[in-house]
């Protein structure tokens, strides 16, 4: 048996983490699978467990004066989907995760901390330039999500730290695109996903972004390739030569694997096909 903590105040949670290393449990939808033994046998956690679902403060979605959205670590996917200020792309991806019962427990920040290559919300959060805020008794630090996700299941979070808030800066897109290719229509894990957004004014591309999920150890997003597109005229984006060239450049970054759910070849082909579809959609 292990010790269990369920603080209601953030300060108490941070104090616990200062004293001992805990498994932080928000919704638990990944943890309960990872630590399962068999039905009717208590899950096998090797270190103390701290539940953060009772910390009211972290169950909030806030808007800062500059328009930045702050999403607390205990905010569930169901809350996210129902909230008026959450960007539509993020809602779309959250709504495609598993089934309603799971979305009632699973949290966005949990999806981030799990750092799975196939995480559904990560490509969107990459695309939206999300940041994470880590807090401990010693203080706090904020970093870009791209700095936080180091590899499959790997993050730089310290044992005494808690990821308390996820921040999304305000965006101005005129068009977005999201396609999750799951193993089926619902309750599905992702084989490959593509999310994209653009700001086009008078046929001029002022902003253009694309991120790919489940095709590499971490989400694929390339600011340098995006800069090749920004500043162009829409008609240039849709020239066959341009599309092929951009596909080739992204192909170097897209390095998926074969597994029991799909093949590397399929994932790469579909990612590049969807890149093309997105380019042709822009107007």
């Amino acid at each position: 048996m292990v010790a269990i903590y369920r603080p209601t105040q953030l300060a108490d949670a941070l104090a616990v983490l200062t004293n001992e290393t805990c498994t932080v449990f928000a919704g638990g939808t990944d943890l309960m699978v990872r630590h399962r033994v068999r039905p009717n046998i208590v899950a096998d956690f090797s270190q103390p467990v701290m539940f953060i679902d009772a910390i009211t403060e972290l169950g909030q979605i806030q808007t800062l004066a500059d328009g930045t959205l702050r999403i607390g670590a205990a905010v569930t996917l169901a809350q996210l989907i129902a909230h008026p200020l959450i960007p539509d792309l993020l809602k779309q991806s959250a709504a495609k995760i598993a089934a309603p019962a799971l979305r009632n427990r699973a949290t966005l920040v949990g999806n981030v901390c799990n750092a799975s290559p196939a995480a559904d919300t990560l490509p969107i959060l990459y695309l939206l330039d999300a940041k994470v805020q880590l807090q401990s008794c010693q203080g706090e630090r904020t970093m870009a999500l791209t700095q936080f996700i180091l590899g499959p299941g790997q993050t730089p979070i310290d044992g005494c730290e808690l990821l308390t808030w996820l921040e999304i800066p305000p965006q101005q897109f005129t068009q977005t695109f999201y396609h999750k290719v799951g193993t089926r229509a619902a309750n599905a894990l992702t084989k490959v996903s593509v999310v994209a957004a653009a700001q086009v004014v008078d046929e001029h591309v002022l902003d253009w972004r694309i991120a790919f999920g489940a095709v590499a150890p971490t989400v694929v997003r390339s600011p340098s390739l995006e800069q090749l597109v920004v500043g162009l005229n829409v008609s240039q984006l849709q020239q066959t030569h341009f599309i092929t060239q951009l596909q080739q450049q992204y192909a170097e970054l897209i390095v998926p694997i074969d597994d029991q759910r799909s093949t590397a070849k399929y994932r790469k082909q579909v990612a590049l096909n969807l890149l093309k579809r997105w380019l042709l959609m822009i107007n």
Binding site: V37, V181, A185, T263, K265, Y266
Partner: protein, 726 residues
């Protein structure tokens, strides 16, 4: 005698039903299997840890009777003794009070093997590396049927088509995993379990224990689909040994991953067709060879093989046919019963082959099939005349009209090949033989039913057929109540308990309604004639073979089944040409099951069967890895359709009463799984303009087919000139 709650499925719907995993018994022990980690080899040593008090291990040495389970032939040991044939084979049963301690003890058991080179595929089985696993040649069973004169048929052919079509494994994924509990009551060893065939379990227990102080009771069963035909024996055999010795309640419940990995699966099959077509575009000869992968033990493979052989030409009247079917032993999980029992494989393969020939000949697939349909004048593949009226053309007409198949087929043929989304529509025609193969109902099963009427005029049905979710208890009560002109509330049905019900045969082969239901109807008629108010009465009735039914089990000649049901499916799809995902936009199912008794219940079969078949065709990928175990290990890997993956199914029936079925009914439970995979693939083929010769047709398979150089799977040999020279 306990009767089933008269409020149909009330307890299940309310969560009150006590499935095996929900049960509580005083002093209950849990049982866990230690399974082979070696695909093929001899057991050299079994090293077990010292057991704490109250923990016990059982092995082949503890079997008081015979350590072989008599499923069809007694080849599958209750506990592996000298050899292991697949990863997951039961070697030991570990029993004790604390599941966590059992879990830890299992990790301390080790077995030393002398390994041999395993064979996982039919090709590897045929290669006999390190000798045969079974007998001298690994061949479990083989049969051949010859109809007409195959050589004379090919002599008339101007074109010959050769094609190989294959199907994969399929997992049942019943809602409730396998499980049994055993205890001693009234000095009998009692097994209660989630099962289809309690009398099968009874016979296995009596063999393993060497006595008949035994009793088997069916617990509420959360789905079977054939998966709970043979496998409950595999659990009950070792469990009975432990209960017999300890005289204490013991339960074995498989967890989901264990169930997916180690219980029986649908047989993968490889069909090789060689089909001759004459100058009028008519098939004049078909030479069919196929192989079944039976896994490590024979189990039900012989009967699956028989069904696949005797229905190999599906609904078509082909003059000259040769069929050779073989079932092979491999070092994988034994393949067993799964809804359709060889027919979904056969129907997919022949329907696809017919579609591909039509395409090669420049003909519409439906018209080509219509030109070859069985008619009332036809002689079947096994040399029998058709009994009753065939209504296949009505089924086709109704389906084509409801789905607007012809107009859509033409419209989709004309769509742009450059579209981002492309549509297609496909049709399949299929059959299913109802009841045991041939006349095994008469020579082997000999079903018996009993009706009891008490002094209060309440009637109780006693049969061994189990409700595993398909709704059997209601239809049986309805048959008896209607015959006796009683309200439904005056007819009960007994819980299936070998202490009280006669052996009316297993719940398999779409036989429960057409065979057992009919005997019940006969019994009810007899009771009606003899009804004495206020008196206790018992009526027993045996199966009687209809006089027209003739069968030669050695040569496979005669009526391959007592009756046959028919169906037509139409499936409409849209393929995303960027992601190769297929959306099933519409699906139609039209059936001849004689006369339907309870349409609502049969609608459940249509929905369930078609969804399961759409999964089989589109997404249910189950593949062996290099170690001979399935790569798909959980419900997150093995994909069955959700309600969002399938459309609302549009159902219809053609009424065609069968004189030897209750109220004119034939079988229908398996029929509904036979056609949708083929109709789905035909629709995808039209949408993407490529042919597929295996299922499942996943997005990965579509991508691979479209991005590689197009290759014809079907080989076309033009023999016109050669024939002219002759």
């Amino acid at each position: 005698m306990d009767t089933v709650d008269a409020r149909f499925k009330w307890l299940e719907a309310n969560g009150e039903a006590q499935y095996i995993a929900d049960r509580h018994y005083d002093g209950l022990l849990e049982g866990r299997f230690y399974r082979s980690t070696c695909s093929r080899g001899y057991i050299k040593a079994v090293n077990v840890p010292e057991l704490p008090d109250g923990y016990y291990l059982f092995s082949a040495k503890d079997v008081p009777g015979t350590n072989r389970l008599p499923i069809v032939v007694p080849d599958w040991p209750a506990f592996a003794d000298t050899e292991v044939r697949y990863i997951g084979q039961v070697i030991l049963l570990l029993v004790g009070p604390d599941p966590l301690v059992l879990e830890q003890l299992l990790t301390q058991v080790s077995v030393e093997y002398e390994p041999l080179t395993p064979a996982y595929t039919v090709a590897q089985s045929k290669a006999l590396v390190d000798g045969a696993i079974h007998n001298q040649d690994n061949l479990f069973d083989a049969h051949q049927i010859d109809k007409g004169d195959i050589e004379a048929g090919f002599a008339q052919a101007v074109t010959i088509f050769e094609e190989t079509v294959t199907t994969g494994y399929q997992e049942h994924l019943y809602l409730e995993t396998q499980g049994c509990v055993g205890y001693v009551a009234d000095s009998k060893v009692v097994i209660e379990g989630s099962m289809q065939c309690p009398w099968y379990v009874y016979h296995c227990m009596s063999t393993v224990l060497g006595h008949q102080h035994i009793r088997v009771i069916q617990a509420p069963t959360g789905g079977g689909f054939g998966g709970k035909e043979d496998y409950p024996n595999i659990i009950a055999g070792p469990l009975a040994v432990a209960v017999n010795q300890l005289r204490q309640p013991i339960r074995v419940v498989l967890e989901r991953r264990e169930d997916i990995a180690f219980t029986s699966k649908r047989h993968p099959v490889e069909f090789h067709y060689r089909t001759g077509v004459d100058k009028h575009g008519q098939i004049v000869a078909m030479d069919i060879k196929f192989d079944l992968n039976s896994g490590a033990y024979f189990s039900l493979s012989g009967i699956v093989l028989q069904r696949a052989i005797t229905t190999a030409t599906n609904v078509y009247d082909i003059a000259n046919v040769r069929i050779q079917g073989q079932a092979w032993c491999t070092n994988t999980v034994p393949t067993g019963a799964f809804r359709g029992f060889g027919s979904p494989q056969t129907c997919f393969c022949i329907e696809s082959h017919m579609n591909h020939i039509a395409q090669q000949l420049g003909q519409a697939p439906l018209a080509f099939k219509q030109a070859h349909l069985l008619t009332n004048q036809s002689t079947t593949l096994t040399g029998a005349s058709i009994f009753g009226e065939l209504v296949i053309t009505d089924l086709i007409e109704q389906s084509v009209s409801a789905s607007q198949y012809l107009a859509k087929r033409a419209a989709y043929a004309a769509q742009s090949s450059q579209g981002a989304y492309r549509k297609g529509i496909g049709i399949s025609i299929f059959q299913h033989g109802c009841g045991f193969a041939g006349d095994l109902e008469d020579t082997l099963v000999k079903a018996k039913v009993r009706l009891i009427k008490d002094q209060n005029e309440q009637v109780t049905i006693l049969v061994s057929n189990t409700d595993i979710g398909q709704g059997l208890v209601l239809t049986f009560r309805q048959i008896v109540a209607d015959t006796l002109a009683l309200p439904l509330s005056q007819v009960d049905i007994s819980v299936v308990d070998t202490d009280s019900v006669p052996d009316s045969g297993p719940t398999v082969a779409s036989r429960s309604i057409v065979i057992v239901g009919y005997i019940l109807e006969q019994a009810a008629l007899a009771l009606k004639q003899q009804w004495q108010v206020g008196e206790y009465q018992e009526i027993e009735q045996d199966y009687q073979k209809p006089s027209y039914h003739q069968w030669d089990q050695i040569n496979y000649q005669g009526n391959a089944y007592q009756s046959t049901s028919y169906g037509v499916n139409v499936v409409e799809v849209e393929v995303d040409m960027a992601s190769y995902e297929v959306k099933i936009n519409d699906a139609w199912g039209c059936y001849d099951i004689g006369h339907v008794i309870n349409e609502q219940i049969f609608n459940g079969q249509i929905d369930g069967g078609m969804v399961q078949a759409l999964g089989y065709g589109a997404m249910e990928k189950l593949e062996l890895n290099g170690e001979g175990v399935f790569a798909q290990k959980s419900m997150a890997d093995y994909m069955v359709p959700t309600s969002l993956d399938v459309p609302r199914i549009q159902r219809s029936l053609v009424d065609n009463p069968y004189p030897y079925g209750p109220q004119g009914a034939k079988g229908g439970g398996e029929l509904t799984h036979n056609g949708a995979a083929s109709a789905f693939v035909a629709a995808v083929e039209q949408a993407v303009g490529q042919a597929f010769n295996r299922i499942p047709v996943t997005p990965e398979v579509i991508a691979q087919t479209l991005t590689n150089e197009p290759q014809a799977n079907i080989k076309r040999i033009d023999v016109a000139e050669v024939t002219n020279e002759n």
